[in-house]
């Protein structure tokens, strides 16, 4: 059964978007002030090991932006192939606590060149994948699975503070995840209690070359609006309508934002092809923020396409059901 939800609008940025602005804090502080309340979500792509442009760590930047905003969902990027899934899991869980349930993870798939750069930046290490696409995709699937299992490794009512039995926590409600993949093993449980959303949203960007399982394992997939959207939606819904991840169409905004009518038309087309919303990719936020927030987004609303942000946690905005804990005994 398909769950009807609002057509969403969000922004796509990378964590080096401050560019040549020497005042990085001022840039990000000003930016989040403009974006908060204007759209449902923001994605922050991480530029790990991008030579000379690696910028800020996206998950940490997200944690810095969260207390400065009230409403916008923050989906922070991480290239899982070169990171410890345990650290990523706790950092996104923390983002969910800090933001009050507005956190998401953008599982990034680096292209071959960036994977080579990232590999050189961490060195050749046991437990990390070889730099070929099949190994990287297999590892990314494993790492995302670990991240998710760790979020569930504490049941919601694990902390009991029971003075009579002198116990703070009920050990029966903490769980080993005991994940054994091809390249590494993680035992768990997490050190961070289950975050407010249970499962913060997991998103990824569509890549034709990638293993389809990567996109299918995500809650949300960003797909270029100019591609065969309807075909990709069908591929992702292999188990029938409504079973796949939510598809959001990526719309690239021109530097001068002179294409408002075209963007509205593209958004409408993407909706008819099965997209649940659009992500506006901003390549030059310094120039684009004002026209996008003041003109483009209101025009999308006037066109009847996008409603006011409905509030609620990030999962519910995307029409995702409340997350069940895989380790909790069925009631």
């Amino acid at each position: 059964m398909t769950q009807k939800s609002t057509f969403l609008v969000g922004f796509g940025l990378h964590a080096g978007a401050h560019g040549d602005d020497p005042d990085w804090r001022g840039f990000w502080s000003g930016l989040i002030g403009r974006l908060d309340g204007a759209a449902e979500f923001l994605t922050l792509e991480d530029r790990f090991a991008d030579p000379g442009r690696d910028g800020l760590d996206a998950i940490l930047l997200a944690n810095w932006l969260a207390p400065r905003s009230r409403d916008i969902g923050i989906i922070a990027g991480a290239p899982l192939n070169v990171l410890e899934p345990f650290h990523v899991s706790t950092a996104i869980a923390t983002l969910d606590y800090v933001s009050g349930g507005r956190a998401g993870l953008l599982a990034q798939r680096l292209d071959q060149q960036r994977s080579l750069d990232a590999g050189r930046a961490i060195g050749a290490l046991k437990g990390f994948p070889a730099v070929d696409p099949p190994s990287l995709d297999r590892d990314a699937l494993a790492a995302a699975e670990v991240v998710r299992r760790l979020w569930d490794s504490w049941e919601d009512d694990a902390v009991i503070r029971d003075v009579v039995s002198q116990r703070y926590v009920d050990g029966e409600k903490l769980h080993y995840i005991d994940f054994q993949g091809a390249d590494f093993r993680v035992l768990g449980p997490s050190i961070t209690p289950r975050p407010p959303q249970g499962q913060p949203l997991v998103a990824t960007s569509w890549t034709a070359e990638a293993d389809l399982a990567l996109a299918r394992a995500a809650d949300v997939v960003f797909v270029p609006a100019a591609s065969d959207l309807a075909g990709i939606v069908a591929k992702l819904e292999g188990d029938g309508p409504g079973t796949g991840p939510k598809v959001i169409a990526d719309l690239h905004v021109k530097p001068d934002v002179a294409d408002v009518a075209d963007l509205i038309a593209a958004a409408k087309t993407s909706e008819t092809q099965g997209a649940r919303g659009v992500r506006l990719i901003l390549t030059d936020p310094h120039r684009q923020i004002a026209p996008v927030v003041d003109t483009l987004v209101p025009a999308l609303r006037t066109a009847g396409l996008v409603a006011q942000p409905p509030g609620g946690d990030l999962r519910s905005r995307f029409g995702l059901p409340a997350a069940r804990n895989r380790y909790a005994a069925a009631a």
Partner: protein, 430 residues
């Protein structure tokens, strides 16, 4: 001669029995509102920094999760970066292991914290026990125990070369990495480096590389001996005595009168060492299941089991010689007629300043002026209000004595600690 200025760190109550959860005033260990309250309070009190400990695996006892103490914490770097967003002056020091991190990702994250906090980042450099914690990480138990400090030193020097910005290329015993970073120069040049190891190797690493030492030396005399030992090690690395600050961990209990404070201390210690917790502590030395023993009764007559692997996992191993420790504890218990619980309360105590606000302020000052310390890292027993009274009552007295700042003087943590500029660039290991 002007008096030494006191450095104060505020440790967020940690994952151990010193954090009292059974008190009605004990709040959430994980809610952001707790961290916000804590950070805003200590910044109002002009503390130098907030300090977070680390634990990367839930502690276990006899193969089961340890249930008696507070457990659960956020990701250290993530919560510190969130706190950077809601504070303006207080430093943010996180404990982060060199064993289950790699130099480029961690150096980049610390650079991010330093940039987003405007120069308030600090790193307490630690190493982790291998197999137990390693079970949560890709690389697993990858490092022989004896090499943990060598990797830490190598890691730190690698991080330094990354913090210089631009191209980095390191080929060393532990790392073979290269790249080009766009972050840098950092607001502080490099984050503040703290070190906690007490062994000879730990002290040497601190003398050569650290800005702060987090120590555990409670009495005035022990503190003075440690202080003298570490400070004299600085010269051979071409560093001045002021370049490394020594900060023991400590607690405080405040009362209307000394008697009132001592009463409160007694009650807090009973909360910290519950009957079951007393047995757990005893099991760490005896290395046997002692659940059949009465916590209010005498110590076991049976000797510790030295043959098998230790029962407690995820704690710093503090009792190297079990038989010797057991003998000393028995002697103490017999001499002072102590039950198991009373003994554990006595032997697991940390340095505590107990008394009226004026007495506590005077005692802190005395330790610092007598070169037993440059200041303290205080860990209160309650989350999140553990510093409320201290900030309201003790800080103003320290300020009146002119040994603690009225307001922050510098924009960066390095500046507020009155440390010399960030280290000179070291020769890159290529």
């Amino acid at each position: 001669m002007s008096k030494k200025q006191i450095i104060l760190g505020a440790q967020f109550p940690g994952v151990n029995n010193f954090t009292v959860w059974s008190d009605p005033a004990a709040g959430s260990q994980i809610a952001f509102s707790s961290f916000r309250h804590f950070a805003e309070t200590v910044e109002r009190g002009k503390f130098d920094f907030i300090f977070l400990a680390e634990g990367l695996r839930v502690r276990e006892q006899k193969g089961r999760f340890h249930e008696l103490d507070v457990v659960g914490r956020p990701n250290t770097l993530a919560i510190l970066t969130a706190l950077a967003s809601i504070t303006n002056h207080v430093g943010l020091i996180g404990t982060l292991t060199t064993t289950f991190n790699e130099p480029y990702p961690l150096a980049r994250q610390l650079a991010t914290l330093d940039i987003l906090s405007g120069g308030r980042a600090g790193w307490n450099v630690v190493t982790s026990p291998g197999a137990f914690t390693g079970a949560n990480f890709r690389r697993g138990d990858h490092l022989p125990f004896r090499e943990r400090y060598e990797r830490a030193r190598d890691f730190l020097e690698t991080a330094r070369s990354i913090w210089q910005g631009g191209d980095f290329h390191v080929r060393s015993p532990y790392f073979d990495i290269a790249g080009r970073t766009g972050a840098g120069p950092l607001p502080q040049g490099a984050p503040i480096i703290a070190q906690a190891g007490d062994s000879d190797e730990g002290r040497e690493l601190a003398a050569s590389h650290a800005d702060l030492i987090y120590s555990r030396h409670g009495t005035l005399e022990e503190g003075q001996a440690f202080y003298a030992d570490v400070k004299q090690r600085l010269a051979k690395y071409g560093r001045s005595r002021d370049a490394l600050k020594i900060l023991p961990g400590a607690n405080f209990v405040l009362g209307e009168t000394l008697e009132d404070a001592l009463e409160k201390q007694k009650a807090i210690r009973l909360q910290q060492v519950s009957p079951k917790n007393a047995i757990v502590f005893l099991e760490q030395v005896w290395n046997r299941d002692l659940t059949a023993y009465d916590p209010d009764g005498p110590l076991p007559e049976v000797d510790p089991d030295v043959a098998v692997e230790q029962l407690a996992q995820g704690r710093a191993a503090r009792y190297d010689n079990r038989l010797e420790t057991a003998r000393a504890w028995r002697e103490l218990a017999e001499r002072e007629k102590l039950s198991i619980r009373e003994l554990i309360i006595k032997v697991t105590g940390r340095k505590q300043f107990v008394g009226t606000p004026a007495q506590v302020a005077e005692e802190i000052d005395r330790y610092v002026q007598a070169d037993a310390a440059d200041g303290f890292v205080f860990a209160p027993h309650l989350t999140p209000g553990g510093f409320d009274e201290f900030v309201e009552k003790v800080i103003p007295i320290l300020q009146e004595r002119k040994v603690f700042r009225q307001d922050y003087a510098a924009p960066t943590l390095r500046g507020n600690l009155a440390l010399p500029q960030a280290w000179q660039p070291v020769a890159k290991a290529v």
